[in-house]
Amino acid sequence: MTEALLQLEHVFQSYGAGVRRFTAVENVNLNLSVGEFVALLGPSGCGKSTLLRIIAGLQKATQGKVLYRGQQLEGVNPHTSIIFQTFALFPWLTVLENVSLALKAKGVEKHERDKKAEDLLDRVGLDGFESAYPRELSGGMRQKVGFARAMAVEPELLCMDEPFSALDVLSAESLRGELLELWTEGKIPTKAILMVSHNIEEAVFLADRIVVMDKEPGRIIAEHKIDLPHPRNRKSVEFQNHVDQVYAVLAGQTRPEKEELGTAPGEVGITRHLPEVEISDLAGLLENLAEGGNQKHDIYLLEDKLGITSDQLLKLTEAAELLGFSSIAKGDIELTALGQAFADASILARKEIFASCVRRIPLMRWLLSMLHSAEDRRLKIEVILTALSLDFSTEEAEKQIEVLIKWGRYGELFVYDDDQEMIELEEGR
């Protein structure tokens, strides 16, 4: 029986109040045991970073219990530390001062804390850089300082918030290896690691267990155990199978059209968010899928082929699915006849196809009908924003409008005047 370290029980996190209440995290139950390396995986906006902050005690959950070693957590958890995506180093302090500051706050004397900080910097391979300022270091070295600082307070639970996503590919890879070495060989006193990631391969490479989350609202949809021994071989069949399985969970299934598209704002049912993608990227994906005739493609293989992150890829496949260009099942993606036609079409014909597809999406249909009934067939952005904010948070509503404008402009459904912040229907539409 493993020793429980952390338990989340029915945790909710919501913002705002009344009609404009938005749930960021819904009913999350999660256990973390001693000796575990758990990865929280999901698309952006699924609340995984929020969950990490609730666990570290930086944020108080609106509802539910957070238990650390059986005790209800009050305030910042003194047994955790965080490695941040942006490193969060103090730029005006030297490398040594950055690490030693964490010790100073614990009341360690100057001589002792400098010694300890130097020792930690040695261990992550930064000896000789003690008096350098963070801006003089490369991204990978900065994150090493972040590691050393997090280790300095000897946390039982180490939280990592996308620690490798701001690094270049090579630095990220070598840092992952070094982290694994410290962890698997027990060189650090840490009892458990919780990592937030949106990179599926990375999670499969590092973690013992992957907790998969989805958005709208943020919730846990699956757990996936990985029992491969370290070091793991990315090229092995077992490894690839795990990646494929996680992709299958995250990319979901193409459902019947009505369910897939959701409903328009104001109607009963859930209004589907439009994924933020560039049309040119979408076209790139479709062209790629169309290459070599119509066939099924493993989604996880596309990541390398297109040279994009899993997060970007999932947004693209979501958009393609929503527009009816492709269908997804069991981690495989396939072009529809429409998608095939789009990929083969000329620039102008593509616009035509796109326009007809995008008009089917309830959110766009709703916007167009609003424009139709408006005086002079034009509307202020503000008006649309107000209408949308019944279904979305203000921030999200702004994003959705941006996507709507981008898509509508491409399909030549309407024109947008940035000076006046006004959308106007194109002639004859």
Partner: protein
């Protein structure tokens, strides 16, 4: 981040011209003014004023007096800013009142307070002390707001992850202030302090030479020395006084502000090395001196270490939780009720006092505001007419800039008010002399803001755009219209906002002057306020000051803020 982008900021992005916060803030100002005007009734009829010696041997002590007033006011401003900014940044309820208040205070012509403050203080303090305190209060009010604003802005823009790092590593309030808040705000604090300090001279000189009717509120200092010298047409003393003033300003710049700026470069947040970091010979000198090293290693370091550990022992880390609701404490509610009651009381009596102002006087006030407004516009137009071409020329021409920048900086560092008596000496006997002198004073006080901003704007134009416009064969007016004017527009607006504020301030000193034994006035709100002060017409004083404040606030909201927003949204090159 140049200094220019930080000089002016509107805290409220609200598109309404007036918000509730504004109304409360204005009410507070009115209530305070009423209390001042009420107290002023008891001010002594005659204030004899100090004897100002024109002997060169008096100059060092006058310089010390002037610098001392500046230092006292600056220290006050700094402390005020740190506290006010923190309260506004960390308490949402307080923020709703404090930020609009700051915004109103920032746009109010501060010199218009001078008569009220002087009279009310002299009603219960000895004249010398009253004038000293009034000058410090005045300089304080000219320095504090932008420093506070910069500090507040930097506190609210500290990246979330740095704040979280501070919480997760359990820094207590003091260490958090020392290791995160202060360093993060350091650059903008220092830039704004430097700007404030430069602006402070203008108000110090104005305060040192203030005289109305039989009340002589002058203070022994460099400003009074220059004024006395001009009064007596003593050319040697004018020359000496100006020389010492320039020397002092430049010396302080070299020994304090430049080193501070160079030193603060380490606090920049950008994670890239600066190709061209600011330098200071004095800082290098101090850096290499053994004595500074010994002081810092042997005395300073152990002392701060001891103090830090003391705070760690006694002040545990605050585990700030987000989403924690700000609960209203009972004493906050009691305090708010008291303040509210006092404001209502002040407003009630202020209205009573204002109602006692006869109708035709309001007409005079309207005329005065219009006349001053016209002067401000003329001064601004003249300033625009010469600073745009010259600024663009300097900004786009590097060799020229290296030669002219220092000269412009030294010229600009002379506070315009100090030279006003000299201007009077030159113009007073000519036709419409005071009118010309008044516009000139406004011009002198304002043109530099514009010039610096135009230079900054022109030198920020990307080379690519300059090349492109050359390739397209744009020249003359076309080049101005499509490239230069749009590119410098945001900078121009920023400069013009500060400049027009300065011009309004100048009107208080410029429109009413006692020169020798004769008093000279022109029509204008500044002279109206001064005359009301001289004749002891306190309702008129209150009405005039209020009219001026409200005009300036409204002009700011209706014209400048719109232009500023337009500049931000459309012409910002980022």
């Amino acid at each position: 981040m140049t200094q220019n982008t930080r000089v002016f900021g509107t805290s409220q992005n609200s598109r309404k011209p007036l918000t509730w916060g504004d109304i409360i803030a204005l009410s507070l100002v009115i209530a305070l003014l009423y209390v001042g005007a009420r107290l002023a009734v008891n001010a002594p009829e005659v204030v004899p004023g100090p004897d100002i010696s024109l002997s060169p041997s008096a100059l060092p002590i006058y310089t010390l007096f002037s610098v001392g007033r500046m230092a006292a006011a600056y220290l006050l401003s700094f402390l005020f800013s740190i506290i006010y900014g923190r309260v506004a940044a960390y308490h949402q309820n307080a923020e709703k009142i404090l930020m609009p208040l700051l915004d109103v205070l920032q746009s109010v012509p501060i010199l218009s307070f001078l008569p009220v403050v002087l009279l009310s203080l002299s009603s219960f303090l000895p004249e010398g002390t009253a004038a000293e305190i009034a000058s410090i209060v005045l300089i304080f009010t000219s320095q504090a707001w932008n420093i506070t604003f910069a500090w507040y802005q930097s506190l609210t823009t500290i990246p979330k992850e740095l704040k979280e790092a501070s919480s997760i590593f359990r820094l207590n309030k003091w260490i958090n202030f020392k290791a995160l808040e202060l360093p993060f705000g350091m650059i903008s604090l220092i830039w704004n302090s430097m700007m404030s300090w430069a602006g402070g001279w203008f108000f110090l000189m104005a305060a040192e030479i203030f005289t109305v009717g039989s009340r002589d509120f002058r203070l022994p200092g460099l400003g009074a020395y220059l004024q006395e010298a001009a009064n007596q047409s003593n050319h040697v003393a004018i020359f000496l006084g100006t020389g010492v003033l320039i020397f002092t300003v430049v010396l302080l710049d070299q020994l304090i502000w430049r080193p501070l700026i160079a030193w603060s470069d380490r606090f920049k947040v950008e994670m890239v090395e600066n190709d061209n970091p600011p330098t200071s010979w004095f800082l290098d000198l101090m850096h290499n001196a053994n004595i500074t090293r010994i002081i810092s290693n042997r005395i300073f370091a152990p002392l701060t270490e001891w103090f830090d550990r003391l705070t760690i022992k006694h002040a545990p880390p605050v585990s700030r939780l987000e989403n924690g609701k700000n609960q209203l404490k009972w004493y906050v509610i009691v305090f708010s009720i008291i303040v509210f009651a006092l404001i209502s009381y002040g407003l009630y009596h202020a209205t009573e006092m204002l109602l006692s102002v006869p109708v035709q006087k309001w007409g005079v006030i309207g005329l005065g505001v219009t006349a001053t407004f016209l002067r401000v516009i003329v001064a601004l137009l003249i300033a625009l007419a010469w600073t745009i071409p010259v600024g663009v020329l300097i900004g786009t021409n590097r060799p020229l800039a290296t030669v002219l920048q220092p000269i412009v900086q030294v010229t600009a560092s002379v506070p315009a008010t100090a030279l006003f008596p000299v201007l009077l000496l030159l113009f007073l006997n000519a036709q419409g002399g005071l009118n010309t002198a008044a516009v000139l004073l406004m011009l002198m006080g304002t043109q530099w803001y514009l010039l610096f901003n135009v230079i900054a704007g022109a030198s920020a134009i990307p080379q690519d755009l300059i090349f492109t416009s050359k390739l397209m064969g744009l020249s003359g007016w076309q080049r101005w219209r499509t490239l230069l004017l749009p590119a410098i527009f945001p900078y121009l607006v920023t400069g013009a906002i500060t400049a027009s504020g300065g011009a309004w301030n100048a009107s208080i000193v410029a429109e009413y002057q006692k020169f020798g034994e004769k008093t000279h006035t022109v029509t204008g709100i500044g002279s109206l306020i001064a005359q009301a002060t001289a004749s002891g017409d306190y309702p008129l004083l209150l009405a005039g000051t209020l009219a001026m404040i409200i005009t300036v606030v409204v002009v700011n909201r209706v014209i400048w803020r719109r232009l500023y927003r337009l500049a931000e949204e459309k012409y910002r090159m980022e």
